[in-house]
Symmetry: C2
Subunit: 221 residues, 2 copies
């Protein structure tokens, strides 16, 4: 499940972020290809801006198992919820991956899905390299135990039943969360971290886009 | 004050990290030049491996106000403490900057020093771009309020009296902290965050070094 309906205005390219080109292909096409390369990914569901559904169908790499392209909602939560409605009955594991993370590896995708199979919920994380501080009222008040902090990214994967329950609860409570894992955390269900590969970063700014071109070249070395 | 006595073995270059070359000059030479470029920096004190003091004297850029090169200790705390002993009497503000952050800008250095002048203690921070999680026993248990989290880097600057007090207290308590600001936080003194410029990252791995070459080229654009 790839939510790709956000505007991503910080990139300043005049088109929504997933449709911006990175070294000759859209970020979304690269992301779909990277995710579809994982053997455990049996089908793709993409949530897109309502006026770009056809464009997404064309962006899917040849042979990719595109199940559905659905219209996204106003927020990420709404887009993922619309996408979940298109997930086939009987699906065991649902993984969610940011459209703007085209550098995800097969290893990372498989590791997160495998952890979700085993534990119910898992996500890709990095350990912070910097000291982590907590602020209050614009001042730093505390240094947190860095060893206990992780920075969340995607893929995030879940047993379909667990994710469905988390979304129903979130909708009832009107709490949309910042990522899918946070909705599962609120159920009290355990969520397992999987260490990310180095370059699975999100493209947000024009500098990230140039950095992305550099990452592509580095990978070819 | 630049602590440059660490081994930095992750870089795998056979020499301590500050002495590794980045595009033809050592990381340390680039860092000293970047810091000395800030008009408020009246003097530099460097803590180096005991067998490299002379090399550091030669690495200092021409015209840089190098006050002292001292032998560093086993940990960062010890190196900074040795360096503090070489800071001239009557110094108002002491700033500490990682030897492995050669991309610091004059704007950022001046902003941190100015905030320390005004408030007593300040440091350069970034806001995390990812959702921040807390783990316990290898599981994710909570999503923290990202808006309240900051990732600490350097420069960190302090009124000399505040930093001296923080180091005396830390030595008494045998708590060396992970950065200088954490020692001041433990005094209960307010510490102020200053938003960092984008590329002031720490060079840790061989990939960071290649990324560093890319950053240098980007800056020339």
């Amino acid at each position: 499940m790839i939510p790709a309906a956000g505007a991503g205005r910080r990139l300043g390219a005049g088109v929504p972020k997933p449709f911006v080109e990175l070294a000759g292909r859209t970020i979304l096409a690269r992301t779909l290809e990277a995710i579809a390369a994982a053997p455990s990914v049996a089908g793709l569901v993409v949530a897109a801006p309502p006026d770009r559904l056809e464009e997404v169908r064309r962006a899917a790499p040849e042979g990719a198992p595109l199940l559905a392209v659905v219209a996204g909602g106003e927020e990420r939560f709404d887009s993922v919820r619309n996408g979940l409605a298109a997930v086939p009955e009987g699906t065991a594991i649902v993984a969610v991956h940011d459209a703007a993370r085209p550098f995800v590896t097969v290893r990372e995708t498989e590791a997160v899905i495998e952890a979700a199979r085993r534990h119910g919920a898992a996500l890709s994380v990095t350990a912070p390299v910097e000291t982590v501080k907590r602020t209050e009222g614009g001042r730093i008040v505390e240094t947190l135990d860095r060893g206990a902090i992780r920075l969340a990214q995607t893929p995030q994967a879940f047993r379909a039943e667990v994710l469905g329950r988390a979304f129903r609860r979130a909708a009832e409570e009107g709490e949309k969360g910042t990522d899918e894992a946070s909705l599962v955390e609120r159920l009290g269900e355990p969520v397992y971290p999987v260490e990310a590969d180095r370059w699975n970063r999100k493209i947000t700014t024009a500098e990230d886009l140039r950095l992305g071109e550099w990452i592509l070249r580095e990978r070819e070395r």
